[in-house]
Amino acid sequence: MTFYILRRILYAMPIAFGVSVVCFSLVYIAPGDPLQTVMPPDATAETIEIVKHAYGFDKPIPMQFLIWLERVLTGDFGMSISTRRPVFLEVTEALANTSLLALFAVPIAFFTGYVMGVVAGCFPGRWIDRLVTGAAVMGVSLPNYWLGIVLVIFFAVEYMLLPATGMGPNGSTGFHILEWSSARFLVLPVVTLAMIPIGILARTTRAAVAEVRNQDFVQTLRAKGLSEWAVTRHVLKNSLPQVMAVMGLQFGYLLGGSILVETVFTWPGSGFLLSKAIINRDVPVLQGTILTLSLVFVATNLVVDLLQSLIDPRIRRA
C-alpha cells in the first residue's frame, strides 16, 4: 500500500510540472509583447530595455521558466497589473470564497446525484429509472450560466425571495455563514453550481450500479439466499470505485464551472477573479489563478485515486 501511495505521488509530480509549463507559456501565446499592457505607448526603446531587464524578459525562455518556477514555489505569483496587489493574495482570497461555494455544492451534488443514480440503477427500466435518466440528461445539457440567470429571474426578479448577486448585504462586514442575511446569498450560486454534477453523477452511478447488478456474483448472492437489501449493499460497494472516479472529476468540474457561475452571481471567488483578469488582460492573475486551480485539481485526483485503492485492492495491483 505504501508503495502504491509513493508511486502515485511520484506519478503526480511530472503532471504538476507539465501543468506549470502550460501555465507559464500562457504569457507567450498571448498576442504581442508580454510587456505591452504595462508599458505606456510612448515609452522609449531605452525604457523598454530597462523594464525588460527588470522583469527578466531579456533572458532565454527556459531560464525565464526556471526563475518563474522558483518564485512560484516560494508563493510569489507576481503583481496584478490592474490592482497592483500580489497575485498570491488575490488568488488565495478568491479561492477561500470559491471553497465556501464548493463546501455546500459538493456534498449536495454528490449526495443527490448518488442517491438518484442508485435508485435508478436498482430499478432499471421502471418509471423511476426513466425519470432519473431524463432528469440526468437535462442536467448534463444545462448551460449552468443560463440556469443561474433563470433562477435569478424567478427567485430574485419575479418573487424577490433571494438576492440576485454579490456576497452579503450592502455595507456588510465580512461573510457570516450562520446569519440568514449573509447565508441567503449562497443559495442560488450553490444550487446552480451543483446542478450539472448531479446530472453527470446520477448517470454514471446508474450505469455502474446496473452493470454490477448484471455480474455473476450477484446471482450467486441471491442464490445463496441473501436478502435483497444485503445484495444491494454488495452491489453498492462494488460500484463505488467507478462512482468515486467520476466524483473526483466532477470536483474539477465545479472548480472550472465556477468561472461562469461566479460571473453570473458576481460571487468574488476564483472564477470571478479569472473573468475579471480576462477583461483587464491581467496575465499574471490569469496565470496564477489557473495554476492554483489546476494544482488543486491534480491534488484532488491524487486523493481520489488513493481512496479508490483503499476501497478496491484490485486497483493497487494493476
Binding site: 502515485r8 506519478y11 511530472p14 503532471i15 504538476a16 507539465g18 501543468v19 502550460v22 501555465c23 500562457l26 504569457v27 501565446i29 498571448a30 498576442p31 440528461v137 437535462m138 448534463v140 445539457s141 444545462l142 448551460p143 450560466y145 443560463w146 440556469l147 440567470i149 433563470v150 435569478v152 429571474i153 426578479v157 419575479e158 440576485a164 453527470i200 472516479a245 473526483g248 472529476l249 466532477q250 474539477g252 468540474y253 472548480l255 472550472g256 464551472g257 468561472i259 461562469l260 460571473t263 453570473v264 479569472l274 473573468s275 483578469a277 480576462i278 477583461i279 488582460r281 496575465v283 490569469l286 489557473i290 486551480l293 489546476s294 485539481f297 491534480v298 485526483n301 485515486d305 479508490q308
Partner: protein, 305 residues
C-alpha cells in the same frame, strides 16, 4: 489510473462487433443492423429531426428570419414577447430577438462542430499512431495528453482563449485543444485492444503492409468509438463555446451568438426577464437534443465506452 478530466472520460471501450451472437436465420450486416435499430428508436429519431431543423434554420437564416438581425431601433428597445411583429421581443438595441436567435445558431453550431471535427482528426491520428506503434512513442504521446487532462476542461478553454485574446478563431483553437486529449485517449485505447487481436497477426502473416493493416483492420474498429465519442462532444462543445462567448472570449458584438446574447441581455433581466432567458433556452434545447441523439447512436452502434 483514473482519467484526469471532467469530460466524460472513456474507460473501457468496445465489445468487438464480431462477438455478437449470430442469428440463426437471416444475417444482417453491421450497418444494416445499426440502421434497423435506429429505425425502431423513435426517441432518437424525433430528437434527430429537431437537430436537423435547428441546423436547417441556421443555414437558411436569411430566408426565414423575419427581420434583419442587425437592424437597431431606438424606440423598440427591450420589448416583451409578442410586441408588434416581434414574436420574441427585442434586445437592448431594439433588434428582433427571433431573427437574432435564428442567425445566432450559425456561429453557435459552427463552434460546436468544427472544434470536434478537427480534434477528432488530430486526436484520432495521434491515438492510432501511439496505440499501433506502442512503446516509447505511445508513452510520450499519452503522458503529454495527461498534462492537458489535469486541467478542468472549462478552465483550459478559458485559459487558452483568454491568453490568446478571444474571437471566434481563437475560441475554436482553444476548444480544439481541449478536445484533443480525450479523443486521443479513446483512439489509443481502441487501437491497443485491436492490435492485440489475432486477425491483425493473420493479416500480417498473409503479407499485408502496416498501412494496409491500419487502414482496413485498425481504423474499421477504431472509427466507431471515435465517432460516438465525437458525437457526444458536440453538445459539450456548444456549451463551452457559448460559455466562452458569455465571458466575452468568443464571438464579438454585434454578431449574433447565443452565448453573447445571453451575456449582453443579462443586464436587462429586470426589464424583460423572459426575453433575456431565450438565448440560453436555445443553447439548452440544442445541447439536450445533441446529447440524446448521441446516446441513441451509441446504443444503435453498440459501442460501449
Amino acid at each position: 489510473m483514473s482519467s484526469m478530466s471532467d469530460i466524460a472520460a472513456p474507460a473501457q471501450p468496445l465489445d468487438t462487433f464480431e462477438e455478437q451472437a449470430a442469428p440463426a436465420t437471416r444475417v444482417r450486416g453491421y450497418w444494416q443492423s445499426v440502421f434497423y435499430r435506429l429505425r425502431h428508436d423513435p426517441v432518437t429519431l424525433a430528437f434527430g429531426v429537431i437537430v436537423l431543423l435547428i441546423v436547417l434554420a441556421a443555414i437558411c437564416a436569411p430566408l426565414i428570419a423575419p427581420f434583419d438581425p442587425y437592424k437597431e431601433s431606438i424606440v423598440g428597445r427591450l420589448k416583451p414577447l409578442g410586441w408588434h411583429d416581434h414574436l420574441l421581443g427585442t434586445d437592448e438595441l431594439g433588434r428582433d430577438m427571433l431573427s437574432r436567435l435564428i442567425y445566432g445558431g450559425r456561429v453557435s453550431l459552427l463552434m460546436g462542430v468544427v472544434p470536434v471535427l478537427i480534434a477528432s482528426f488530430i486526436g484520432g491520428l495521434l491515438g492510432v499512431l501511439g496505440g499501433f506503434v506502442g512503446g516509447r512513442l505511445n508513452t510520450a504521446i499519452m503522458r503529454t495528453m495527461d498534462v492537458f487532462y489535469a486541467f478542468p476542461s472549462v478552465l483550459l478553454a478559458v485559459a487558452i482563449a483568454g491568453a490568446m485574446g478571444g474571437g471566434i478563431g481563437n475560441g475554436m483553437v482553444a476548444l480544439t485543444l481541449v478536445f484533443i486529449p480525450p479523443m486521443c485517449r479513446v483512439a489509443e485505447t481502441a487501437t491497443t485492444q485491436v492490435r492485440a487481436l489475432d486477425f491483425i497477426e493473420a493479416a500480417r502473416a498473409s503479407g499485408a503492409g502496416t498501412l494496409t493493416i491500419i487502414r482496413y483492420h485498425v481504423l474499421g474498429n477504431v472509427l466507431g468509438p471515435v465517432f460516438i465519442y465525437a458525437s457526444s462532444l458536440v453538445s459539450v462543445s456548444i456549451l463551452l463555446a457559448s460559455g466562452l462567448s458569455f465571458l466575452g472570449l468568443g464571438v464579438r458584438p454585434p454578431m449574433p451568438d447565443w452565448g453573447l446574447m445571453l451575456s449582453t441581455l443579462r443586464q436587462s433581466i429586470y426589464v424583460v426577464p423572459f426575453v433575456c432567458a431565450l438565448p440560453g433556452l436555445a443553447i439548452f434545447v440544442t445541447s439536450i437534443c445533441c446529447n440524446l441523439v448521441s446516446d441513441g447512436l451509441r446504443a444503435a452502434m453498440d459501442v460501449r465506452m
